[in-house]
Amino acid sequence: MAGVAADDSAFSSAEKQAIARHGPWPQPVLRDPSNRGSGNADAIALGRALFFDARLSVKGDMACATCHQPARGLADGRDRAQGRERLDRNTPGLWNVGLAHWFGWDGAADSLWSFALRPILNSLELGATPAHVAKVLGGDPAYACLRRNAFGKAAATKASDDQMMVDAAKALAAFMETLNSGKSPFDELHDVLARGDAAAVAQYPADARRGLRIFAGRGNCAVCHFGPNFSNGEFHEIGIPYLLGAGRVDAGRQGGIKAVRADKFNLLGAFSDDASRASGSRTRHVTENHANFGQFKVPSLRNVELTAPYMHNGKLATLRDVVHHYSELSEDRLHQDGEALLKPLRLTDAEADDLVAFLRTLTSRQFPAVAPPLKPTCEPRK
């Protein structure tokens, strides 16, 4: 950044290019061809109701919203999720989840609807069975009506328990596709830079501006936290321990690849509505190697301020701790064949504060209301 003062409001052309890569925002959420309920108003209404409905759990005491709490960035504020027992991983936030291709810290789900099935079936979470979900869906007249409207009359009358459960998951996915946050102060900067409005650019806080320069420059953060959603959607090992205790490890992406390949609900399987199976291309081609061990998904940084604590195991309590992790990264803890790009950033305290200030400007100013419907209603469609 020769010739540019650290807190100068003018961005260089390289910095402008780097900023431009993180927009525009919002991004369109494309309909999921594997989910015939995607974008369907009745599927969305059913998914919204199910998201808050504890009847989906086998004991009737836990819903999706138990852990994905609207007031906590659709996460839970815990280091590790609390189901029937304390789980091994941090609850991921759900804002903008519809933009992803892999789901979960290990990417063991290749669609948003198969992602929704995991906590439903996990005995340590909702602990339901296909028959239980089918009973909930079929036993509530409004749910049955919404399902018939969304997924078709024929499917409604001849469906197996598995199919009923998948329809519930597809409705949940259709609802989650609507969880898109609005513009953040960073997006406003992106837009005014594109318009060449220097006065408006100067409104972006000086500390965040300095942090942005580190993020997009010598920090190399944008290599993985790439694009409008600040994630390349893939998996990396960054020196966070994967030991879970005596004799237990979290294999991360390695386990995720094995799981998604074995999953009968994956995008190559019979439950996908995409007849071409083109949406399953990632699943078809994903390759497993020993570097996948201990890799975890690169999370989006949008609204990251709302979802502390951080990392797959919630080990880092604050954004300042996350920045410190990268600043003082222990190269000895990284895989020998890991990402050669990772080096300790050796930030000063002031630089670390600036980077945190930048990350806070990724918090959206507007969010759609996420609340349960008072009582779902449905008019049957002919």
């Binding site: 290019q17 890569r21 291709h101 944008a222 290599v223 993985c224 790439f226 694009g227 390349n232 959607g233 893939e234 998996f235 291309s281 990632r282 078809r284 081609h285 994903v286 390759t287 570097a291 064949d337 890991g338 990402e339 050669a340 790009l341």
Partner: protein
């Protein structure tokens, strides 16, 4: 990136030798949007679909291989980031096309930066590895 180009006179002189191989060197001359790599035994031209590679998005590569001698039996396609010391997270599938060439599907570059394509060509003249580097942003 500077790429080698065949001397046109050499191409013309070589054509008779290629009779029976199906493709002549001219088929691997640079065409719109294609990149060209010359090796010991073969010349190779390739195009990506879509033409602009987007970080994190799957793409395909259409490959034409023109042997200087012998016939081509097959091609394997891979890519890596030499500076980062890692390859792709996806393994492409290569199929022979009806029109002599090959198509690799399931390619994906998951980071911006310098990526190196690697084409392993198996021909009756032997096995040869051809490299070409592109910048992705």
């Amino acid at each position: 990136m500077k790429r080698p180009h065949l001397n046109q006179a050499l191409v013309v002189a070589a054509l008779p030798i290629l009779a029976g191989s199906g493709l002549a060197w001219a088929d691997c001359e640079a065409t719109a949007g294609a990149r060209r790599v010359e090796g010991r035994d073969v010349v190779l031209a390739f195009k990506t679909r879509p033409a602009k590679i987007k970080v994190g998005e799957l793409f395909a590569v259409d490959v034409t291989v023109c042997p200087k001698k012998g016939t081509v039996k097959g091609v394997a396609v891979d890519a890596s980031m030499p500076e980062h010391k890692h390859g792709m997270n996806y393994k492409p599938t290569v199929k022979k096309n009806a029109t002599e060439g090959f198509t690799a599907t399931g390619m994906m570059f998951h980071m911006p930066g310098r990526w190196q394509f690697a084409f392993e060509v198996d021909s009756t003249a032997g096995r040869e590895r051809l490299l070409d580097t592109v910048a992705v942003d």
